[in-house]
Subunit: 311 residues, 2 copies
């Protein structure tokens, strides 16, 4: 993927996404000892960056494919993104969701007209259910993160942030399946001025950290984290990009995620979901490394279940 | 007060306040059947519009008065506003707070360097405690709302909103002591194009509604509402302005406040406090009256205690 691919993707999806605001906070700057620029993807359509990749992938299907519909499996945000993208383009969306996905995300998929199939909360069950729909309906399978069109789409958040603030020293994004972090790293590589990309993930699901150490895609023995968007493993397409372009991965404790989330809610008055607070938690954990630097922080999403808050 | 007073006030306080963003939501527009423009005073410095009036009142003191400090009584947001305004201008702030004020607001006053005196949660006890400090320290008493400088300051939120969207048909703001609603009504009167100002308050503390009916300042027998910023009665200066310039007051149930607050959190990803959700609740309650109109909604503040949420 080249510089031009990312720019072309941005042009293509622009009519269907929000250019989200970049917010700052004197108080959080003081607390972090750095100058922070929060890219508010919680204010993106359907409440998360995944709208970008979903729209881009759906736009790249042939008219014939579009007519038969799309299918994906997702624990939440990509499900909503594809449902809304499909609705926008007038095509059918079949969404496979694990039974433990947050209720608020299921309701949103339904509200966007997505047709939900529930399955067991394992990657195997998700893939099997999606594959069945693919065969029965002729729907085009779109992977939530391991897809170059999706990766490019997710990278446009960082592209916009760098357009607004070209001299960032660091970009920090959360790492789940790796779609956002690899897109972010591509944007930093092509458009930053020596801008380093840092990944952030919970200790409880530190598969990306371990994958970078071992040189192969590792999985998580358990997925017991509040950051429900970050439970998935890296993919065959995201992992090499991360190896090449992500400088470091910082891991955080569950309590640090909740504390960071609370600071963003209390001080910035922004609703972010736990996964979206992980990068800020990572920055606070290793704040000495970011002292007096300009740091772009991707607030990846805001789809939290208000009936089930950690405070 | 004239048009020019409001413009001069805005010029004066501009360096010390944020020009807050105006946000929109397709989903909430659909739900309301109107075109809504949310003025995000929850993103104002210290998290509420009261910073505007606090700064303006403090700026208008003589250097001699400033040296002896300022004192006020407030259930929360004006306390923080005056503490932060005083800190910004390098003067002492003595803050009388009722014992039932939210903990998060007390912590914030302390963080801004305000010196807190606790008192019983009655207007009498608040006034007595403030008066004592006034006498002992020579501090200048600043009333949280019944003060023309404060009213002008609060009106600058609506002034900015009308600068951004000059053709609003309605402005809706919450009614507590009446500082915000009377300032808003002045702005609509001077700068709107036939823009009507609507007040919104809980049924539980509907003193403003009853005051407009009886023609004299009424009080509340009890103050059992989740909207902790709206418990106070109107003042001698705010009441006549409301009589003259506010077209209507809509009252809402407690459950409607919580539902409106939840919609704003879930759909706009914005943290607003219960008082700040009252105008949107009022609009939804009487949505037929706003059908296809352009409505400015003042999201007055976002200082909510996350440990004590209604959902």
């Amino acid at each position: 993927m080249q510089k031009e691919d990312l720019l072309r993707c941005h042009e293509k999806i622009r009519p269907f996404i929000h250019r989200t605001p970049v917010m700052t906070s004197h108080l959080l700057n003081e607390l972090a000892g750095a100058e922070l620029f929060f890219k508010c993807e919680n204010l993106q359509r359907m409440g998360a960056f995944k709208m970008r990749g979903g729209v881009h992938a759906a736009l790249n299907l042939s008219p014939d494919q579009q007519q038969r519909g799309v299918v994906t499996h997702s624990s939440g945000n990509f499900a909503q993104a594809l449902a809304l993208a499909a609705k926008t383009l007038g095509i059918k969306a079949y969404i496979v969701m694990p039974s433990n996905a947050p209720a608020v995300k299921k309701r949103a998929v339904e509200a966007y007209g997505g047709m939900i199939t529930e399955c067991a909360p394992t990657l195997q069950a998700r893939e099997a259910a999606a594959s069945k729909i693919q065969q029965e309906k002729g729907a085009a399978f779109l992977h939530p993160y391991d897809d170059h069109e999706v990766i490019l789409g997710q990278g446009t958040a960082a592209l916009e942030l760098l357009e607004d603030h070209p001299d960032l020293n660091y970009l920090i994004a959360p790492v789940g399946g790796g779609g956002l972090i690899s897109g972010t790293a591509l944007a930093a590589h092509f458009f930053g001025k020596n801008c380093q990309t840092i990944g952030a993930e919970p200790f409880a699901v530190d598969d990306a950290y371990r994958s970078l150490q071992s040189g192969k895609i590792e999985s998580n023995a358990s997925t017991d984290t509040i950051a429900d968007g970050l439970k998935t493993n890296l993919g065959e397409k995201t992992f090499p990009l991360i190896q090449q372009h992500v400088q470091k991965i910082i891991r955080v404790e569950e309590s640090e995620i909740v504390a960071a989330m609370r600071l963003i809610w209390e001080r910035m008055k922004l609703v972010v979901e736990p996964s979206g607070a992980v990068p800020f938690a990572a920055l606070l954990r290793e704040k000495a490394n970011f002292y007096q630097k300009k740091v772009g922080v991707i607030l990846s999403g805001g789809n939290v279940d208000l009936s089930n808050l950690p405070f």
